[in-house]
Symmetry: C3
């Protein structure tokens, strides 16, 4: 496949037609893919997992982003830290298992030994002149947003993480991520560019035709619609849905559960959005029967009917918080045409499998939905490769948040390209 | 493997030594491969299948050429049309199965719905300002030569298709392709550049040593020979073969079956060749016992002993028409070192399997021959990768049509490179 | 993965910090990989196998190095020759099996037939003007060092092969390679750059932590150590080891077995090193019980306790010669991140399996050790890909021969880059 980008990246960014999908090179060019890794994933806050991924001292989780490998580790003081997963001797990868527990971080090659604080404690045969303190592990910035872990690979991370945390924290806190456990984790490799995975997530225009399981708990009118295309009956139904959302929202907020939409997807460096919406049927959870999948509710929650709180962050995550469980998604680019979607299911840390929850019931909706989305991403990747592809129009009623994802993405690329030109 | 082309493509074309195989970059360079897709497969008439591939309204066949996907569809008026297989919304591939039957062409992603005429009939949620007529499928040029389907991906296809159709039509028409059915279709991925697949087809110098099945129906003297290398006996046999060809030819032409060689492989844009030659043994068909494989003959034919009509087109097809069945081959480049050979076997549409024909007997000669050729193509690809490879001489007696293929190919490249320079 | 080399290769060579591992592009860049093939493997003496690989006239062995394929063949006069494995007609690969026996070298495509002397004997249909003598196989330089076969792909091989042969010959000769047979051959594809495979071989700092089998016959003090890090007990043990080496060496030399280290790894074009060291335990062979694995000793040897003679050549080989068997290793780059390690086990040609030797006992130490090293090479490759990798310090006591490998490699690259600039 040709990798030629017909014009410069800056020109591609400038000439983008608002309201339309991106030009093909954004999905196929390996040169732009390298920029995505360098700028988008190299200089922004990237969601990588949850505190319960490393519950105890010495617990490690490895996260690979492009050519970079990071080890996230809980230290003896219970703080979580992140390091480049590279020995300072001859560069061997330090930790190989996706998750493991260690006393110290010992390189298998020549047994160079680092503490959980990243400091080189011991290296044999190096002689007198050798200064261990010059060979500590290289740290990576890490922040926790109420238990959601974000890393930033840049020396100077975007400074607006605190603003996001202040805004999203009250929404997430009642679901008490820190007192959950990860009961299922699935890595799915989608056959498309990472932006197609994100765009697919940013709209539900495709849900009706493709997600028979997910559309059980989700209300169709929540996906958006063009009012002028509706008949009398539909207009009345849509009106009733809007009232329901308003009433539920008010009730939840009265319980101390922030619910109203906050949306800063394309007007800040660390873009985000949150909204709590009612669930159809029994109204409890994103399950096949819309009832809770885990009898033990999260944190101090007692009411199962809390709808679904959706949290999105740019560039690479979304999360569904219900009263009984959380499903959390992180997107990692693998190549211009391959993307890792990592999904984790969390329940209360004291919930007992077989008693409080059944793993299949807990996971079946999103396992099915992810598989369907992966196919759609693949079909789109196949299509946009064609020279016959040209950007098409987004629906102003159902795809406006796809547009905001594209806006954010292009603005972030442009900001860093400008930086470089300035230098 | 290095992809460096030591000199410019124009220089490589200019310095080609007539009568010798091409320099290595033509078989290995991904840059030249891109040119082949763009110029050879992007601006010439490409053979892709037969009318019986889509016998009924709504029948679709997908053809992928490089990054381009085309859907060939029979519409309700029984006309055959071709479109780019890309939704005009967000670019998803429309039709995924190699062959299928549809009512309309509906995109799976968001259900945008196109008629068999390519027009966008329906797209939900797009609002008032949206003009469906600006979002029809993009058409692709398609022509049928007595049932053989050719597409051209260029805006302006070569204008000499009609000339080829006028010349080849009378040869092909008696075999009545439109009233056949495809009873077997095999996709073989050959481990070499597409031009090695074509060159392998353009000579039978290799047949004696490699094709024990195919050389049963084919006469060895039909492969060519150097007269000066023959002894007395061979010379006499060759003379008798020449007389037989002349006599059969005259007899078939008297029956209304054009048989004499017409050859325009390298003197026109849409190169072609046709010739009907006797078959050895029982003289009926390219089978292991040289008798017909299908009792029901094609069209209105009644005489099984019609030899084999071979039709070649540049750049990518060959076909064998016998009294009882047709074998038709299309070649599609997949990568510099991988090529799809798609073979289809056709019999009369009313022939009944198990009664009129046995599928194994029908297909065994060419299934074996294709596998043998694929190995030879692979060996050649492995060899020409070596810096030690240098172009070697073609036999002036058995490889002159390989030379014509190379001539045509280089001339077509050169013509379009010149175009571009002119612009 | 990005292939961009941030600075020129010359600059990378110049700025290399002595005593430190190489910068990442040397292990990851496909551009530098091409230079490695062209300069290091294209212009130096490359170890490819042993005379017993082709014991009889007509025996062939194929060796593939990058895009080049070479056939090594024993001719009727028992001389060993090497040719490019490419037919002079249309470039097909001539010999496909890794090892085979032929009468003549016949191309499968069109039966062009070459003698074992490489001369084209026969080509059909080429007509009167065709001169076979212009179409002989292209020869490749080949030399034998007491039965070890080296080829050089350059027109003008380095002239110092004789010097290496004169120095190493007396060490190797008593083991009589020519009268051995290859009883096991294993191809292992290591997941790393070929230089990581070589560097791994050039030190035993990693042996204690990774090679439980190999460290049975090898003495730990032979791996090197920093004297200032030792306690009283260790110092005494190290002293005793040094005396033992000195005494054994003297005894073996008295028997006519050169044993003292000769080392020219980075001060000549064809770098090499040899040393015979005692074996631990029973002192006989690199086996799990440190006793000979083959009852019939090599050549005219009668004493099983001859330690292990290690021979290294730059850029791509190492060999262990014991009294009873030889293990010989050749390293061939496959891609920037894949390397072939070809290991052969040799015993006396008259030894009988099941009587004189047991194949599992013979091979188990190095099969295990190779698998462990392959993992370490893979971990290092994964780590050096990271932008967080920076060259780390070699131990001056245990990794000085890794340093010499790097020195040799960089000097050889630089010499040929200069050549080119001069031209």
């Amino acid at each position: 496949m040709s990798d030629s980008v017909p014009v410069s990246l800056s020109a591609l960014i400038r000439r983008r037609k608002p309201g339309y999908s991106l030009e093909a090179p954004f999905y196929t060019s390996s040169k732009i893919f390298e920029r995505d890794l360098e700028i988008i994933f190299g200089r922004h806050w990237i969601y990588v997992g949850v505190e319960p991924d490393v519950p105890e001292p010495g617990d490690c989780m490895v996260v690979d982003i492009g050519r970079i490998s990071v080890v996230v580790v809980r230290d003896d003081s219970m703080a979580i830290r992140a390091y480049h997963n590279v020995c300072r001797h001859r560069g061997a990868r330090l930790v190989h298992e996706p998750k493991t527990t260690v006393g110290n971080l010992v390189c298998r090659y020549h047994q160079w030994t680092y503490g959980l604080d990243g400091n080189l404690m011991f290296a044999e045969h190096m002689g007198k002149g050798f200064d261990t303190s010059c060979h500590n592990l290289k740290p990576v910035h890490l922040r926790s947003l109420e238990g959601l872990l974000f890393i930033c690979l840049a020396d100077e991370p975007p400074s607006d993480f605190d603003g996001m945390a202040a805004a999203l924290g009250p929404y997430i806190a009642p679901h008490d991520v820190r007192n959950t456990k990860v009961v299922k984790e699935v890595d799915l490799i989608e056959p498309g560019n990472w932006k197609l995975t994100m765009e697919n997530n940013r709209e539900c225009y495709h849900c009706g035709g493709n997600h028979p399981e997910l559309t059980i708990p989700l209300f169709a009118y929540g996906f958006g619609y063009a009012p002028e295309e509706m008949d009398e009956v539909q207009r009345e139904q849509a009106g009733r849905y809007a009232c329901m959302v308003r009433d539920y929202s008010a009730a939840w907020e009265a319980m101390g559960l922030p619910s109203r939409e906050i949306e800063h997807l394309d007007d800040r460096i660390t873009g985000f959005r949150a909204q709590r919406l009612p669930i159809d049927g029994e109204g409890e959870s994103q399950t096949m029967d819309t009832k809770v999948a885990c009898r033990k509710l999260l944190g101090h929650l007692t009411n199962p009917k809390l709808g679904g709180l959706t949290v999105w962050t740019q560039p690479n995550s979304w999360h569904h918080f219900m009263s009984d469980h959380i499903v959390t998604f992180s997107v990692i680019p693998l190549s211009p045409e391959k993307t890792l979607l990592r999904t984790k299911w969390l329940v209360h840390k004291d919930a007992v499998e077989g008693v409080d929850y059944d793993l299949e019931r807990l996971t079946e909706v999103w396992i099915a939905t992810n598989a369907q989305d992966s196919e759609l991403v693949g079909y789109t990747q196949e299509g946009v490769r064609s020279p016959a592809y040209e950007p098409g129009p987004y629906s102003p009623y159902t795809e406006m948040l796809v547009e905001k994802f594209c806006n954010w993405y292009l603005a972030r690329l442009a900001a860093h390209l400008d930086d470089r030109h300035a230098v």
